[in-house]
């Protein structure tokens, strides 16, 4: 039954790790703004932004549907 020492130690340790992560996330300001990130994550990632600019003037209609 000595295994219980190890188990208690591990369980407390895991709890402490999560606790530290929580404190860290609060400290980094994660809970200061609860709304904006929920919108931000829905924006498309724009890999196309490197497309040369000339293309645009010739194909405006495509751009609109971007």
């Amino acid at each position: 039954m000595d295994i219980i020492f190890v188990m208690i130690a591990v369980s407390i340790l895991i709890a402490v790790v999560f606790f530290i992560l929580f404190i860290k996330s609060v400290k980094s300001g994660q809970y200061d703004d609860m709304y904006t990130p929920s919108v931000r994550m829905l924006f498309e990632d724009e890999f196309v932004s490197e497309v040369p600019k000339e293309q645009k003037s010739t194909s405006k209609s495509i751009n609109q549907n971007q």
Binding site: I4, A15, D33, Y35, V39, E44, S49
Partner: protein, 788 residues
């Protein structure tokens, strides 16, 4: 005719839209913004939301002062040689497109490193390279795309406040400890004398003890401080019995553990603190997009343009403006101090100050008061008083603004807890006395058990949850209160005082026409001419004319401060002052716009303040329970009209200066009345702070409100009687919940005085009572809110 909406801002484009890239725009400003976005691959802005934009404002020269390092020094969050960080407040932020475009600023200008939006606060934090771009350029960039930041004197004087996160940390610690202690205490509850349990008991108990220490000394520390402060002022506030409970719980449990008597009540202790902090967080509902602390500093500019002796324009910080200085006030700029108009057409909008929505015309030599906003072109003025000595701003030197209002007000919880504490101490003493004669060994046991079980967990939770929930319900009904104490103060109100202009009157003027009747055709022509003008009167009149259709206007001319003219179907149409249409001005206090068609004066439109919808009903509902009054800074021209609506015993007072208003409220309070002041402008600021509860009525809650206890959206103004009734009922619910909570205490007390309070009973009873109370008050408040 199909009504085409502007692709950028959603305004009506009229019959002659500006077409670019096969899209319609209402004006060149909107087209330009689209062009900027189009050239930078940012048209995604228009995909996220329909017509998200705003017409960019003219800003030439307005931000010149931003080049002066000394003036702007305090605006920065952080600044070193290479990069600068600054937070702007941008009122226009309202949708996901706004977030998207503002976080892509670096695509518009590579010198901007990054930008991050805080949507609830309507703020954007911009990091930029200060060697390649100046602050002025950043602000101009934002303004050019329709996101003009609001930079006020407050930004430059108040040091940036740090966000206080201690409560979250404390709750985190308490929650962590509560959960783990619960887990470790569990085996012992079954009281089986198993071999392995006996073996590990000391370890479990030690771990529990280690975890409870931060709960008592860190998470609960606020209660110790508050109880100490209360005792120092000889007040038995609710925190006194709480601290008593915590200390007794802690000491007795520690004693039990170290002398191997029992497992102690540490799980109850951690749970108790956890629930208390949870209540505290719950009542801390804040509306971060609103500010309840604003004074004139939030509206006054950081710097103004001074004209020196050699006619050169220089920027001076606003506090350096001296008597005799000549200032240049540009279009849409604020007058920072009292003075005399020297040159230019002054048309001053005093809505910030008085709530009066119609602009006032001034001639050179007239006195201008601080707080007015110039509407038509640039003017020059000479300063008579420094900023802090002006008619409006000297109000803030009154002591009321330096004292906090809530201190000294006894809350319901505190007054109950006083009796509660005394009763508990008496019971503990009597129980101790009884056991002293029966069994001396039991005395300490029983006394501590009484103190533990009497710990007013439920009592302390009912107010935060009831008031916190009510605060949210009010928020949904567009009444935004500063904190939960306001609800309690609202329930005690017996006198309601209204400001007149802007509070009980609409910002939309009632427009009537007198003179030769106008034909439909003429109305359409007038409307078409009005469409090209940005003047507030033109906009109001434009919206008031019902006739549909827009005709082509040629030769449009706007004479600043006088009027507008244009040709429709070869007929010259003039709209403006009497002088403008060449007739003798009539002597009247009303604002009028004269119409001349083809050189012949047809008549005039009269702009009048109209009362808010449902005002008489509102007065009727209030008159039985409250004393009513009107406190106005205007003349008594509308006295008779108001008397008709108000009950006979109502007081009507006119011609009051801002400081007089404050004094009037104070006099009422000295007569023992609890006053609710309802106002809207900066001239009410003193009265709002002095009153027991100061509410602000606002047409647009994001734009403007003086310091107050709460802001009510103008569209929900008529629900005021309901709000007052609800706050009274909320207090009744709290009182009812006290009975429930005392019932629980009574049951616990039975266990305690008989010496039967085992840890497991405490561990069940305490959370159970807390949860019952929370459910009771939440359901109760929701119920009264849904009842009509």
């Amino acid at each position: 005719m199909i009504k085409e909406k502007c692709f950028h801002c959603g305004n009506d484009c009229g019959s002659k839209p500006v077409v670019y890239d096969s899209k319609c725009f209402c004006c060149n400003g909107c087209k330009t913004v689209y062009q900027i976005f189009n050239e930078n691959d940012l048209t995604c802005y228009y995909d996220l939301e329909n017509n998200p934009g705003k017409i960019p404002e003219e800003i030439n020269g307005k931000y010149n002062y931003l080049d002066d390092d000394k003036i702007v020094e305090k605006l920065y969050d952080f600044k070193d040689d290479a990069s600068s960080v600054i937070t702007f407040y941008i009122p226009h932020i309202h949708c996901s497109s706004c977030i998207w475009i503002l976080e892509n600023l670096n695509k518009l200008n590579p010198s901007i490193n990054s930008s991050q939006v805080n949507f609830p606060k309507k703020e954007v934090r911009v990091t930029f390279n200060s060697t390649t771009i100046t602050l002025k350029k950043v602000v101009e960039l934002l303004s050019s795309i329709g996101y003009e930041p609001l930079i006020s004197l407050e930004d430059a004087t108040v040091s940036k406040r740090k966000i206080d996160r201690t409560l979250i940390y404390k709750l985190g610690v308490a929650g962590f400890a509560f959960g783990n202690i619960m887990l470790l205490s569990f085996p012992e509850y079954f009281q089986s004398d198993e071999y392995w349990l006996d073996r590990y008991k000391p370890l479990f108990r030690l771990l529990i003890f280690v975890m409870v220490i931060p709960v008592v000394f860190y998470s609960a520390s606020e209660y110790f401080v508050s109880a100490y402060k209360g005792l120092k002022h000889k007040i038995l506030n609710i925190d006194v019995p709480i601290v008593l409970g915590i200390v007794v719980l802690f000491l007795r449990s520690a004693y039990e553990i170290f002398f191997n008597i029992g497992q102690g009540y540490f799980d109850s202790l951690a749970g108790f603190v956890f629930f208390l902090l949870l209540g505290k967080i719950f009542q801390q509902q804040t509306y971060s997009f609103l500010s309840f602390e604003r004074d004139y500093k939030s509206y006054f500019p950081v710097a103004v343009t001074k004209i020196d002796k050699d006619k050169k324009e220089i920027n001076v910080a606003i506090y350096d403006v001296k008597k005799g200085d000549r200032l240049l006030i540009r279009d849409k700029e604020l007058i920072p101090a009292d003075g005399i108009l020297i040159a230019g057409n002054a048309e001053i909008d005093y809505s910030f100050v008085t709530g009066e929505s119609l602009p006032v015309n001034k001639n050179s030599g007239d006195k201008l008061f601080a707080g007015g906003k110039q509407l038509s072109g640039a003017i020059e003025m000479e300063i008579l008083q420094t900023v802090s000595q002006s008619y409006l701003t000297q109000l803030w030197s009154n002591d009321v603004f330096n004292t906090t209002k809530t201190s000294g007000i006894k809350t319901l919880t505190d007054s109950i807890s006083k009796r509660f504490t005394i009763i508990v101490l008496v019971i503990a003493f009597l129980a101790g006395l009884y056991w002293y004669f029966v069994d001396v060994k039991m005395v300490a046991n029983v006394v501590t058990a009484v103190l533990i079980v009497a710990c007013p967990c439920a009592l302390a939770l009912s107010a935060p949850f009831a008031l916190g929930n009510m605060l949210r319900i009010f928020g949904r009904q567009k009444l935004y209160l500063k904190n939960v104490d306001v609800i309690e103060n609202l329930s005690k109100i017996d006198t309601v005082i209204f400001d007149k202009t802007g509070t009980i009157t609409n910002s939309k003027a009632k427009i009537s026409y007198q003179g030769e009747p106008l034909s439909t055709h003429e109305n359409v022509a007038i409307k078409s001419v009005l469409r090209s003008s940005n003047h507030p009167l033109s906009r109001m009149l434009y919206e008031d004319i019902q006739e549909e259709g827009i005709e082509e206007v040629s030769d449009f001319k706007q004479v600043i401060g006088k009027g507008i003219e244009g040709k429709v179907n070869d007929l010259t149409i003039k709209i403006g002052s009497a002088q403008f249409v060449d007739i003798a001005p009539e002597n009247s206090l009303q604002t009028r716009s004269y119409i001349s068609i083809g050189g012949k004066v047809k008549g005039n439109f009269i702009f009048e303040n109209s009362y808010r919808k449902g005002l008489d009903v509102l007065f009727n509902q209030l008159k039985d329970d409250f004393e009513l009054g009107i406190l106005s800074g205007d003349n008594d021209g509308e006295k008779e009209q108001l008397q008709l609506m108000l009950p006979d015993n109502a007081t009507l007072i006119f011609n009051k200066k801002p400081a007089d208003k404050l004094k009037y409220i104070k006099d009422l309070q000295d007569q023992g009345k609890n006053v609710l002041m309802i106002g809207d402008g900066l001239n009410d600021a003193g009265a709002l702070v002095q009153s027991n509860v100061g509410l602000v009525v606002s047409e647009n809650i994001n734009v403007f409100s003086p310091a107050s206890d709460g802001i009510v959206d103008a569209t929900h103004f008529e629900f005021l009687p309901k709000f007052l009734k609800l706050s009274k009922q909320t207090l009744n619910i709290i009182k009812m919940s006290f009975i429930v909570s005392i019932l629980y205490n009574f049951i616990g007390m039975l266990f305690a005085v008989t010496g039967n309070l085992s840890p497991i009973v405490a561990a069940i009873l305490m959370p159970l009572s807390s949860i019952t109370i929370v459910i009771f008050v939440t359901l109760g408040t929701n119920l009264i809110a849904h009842k009509k």
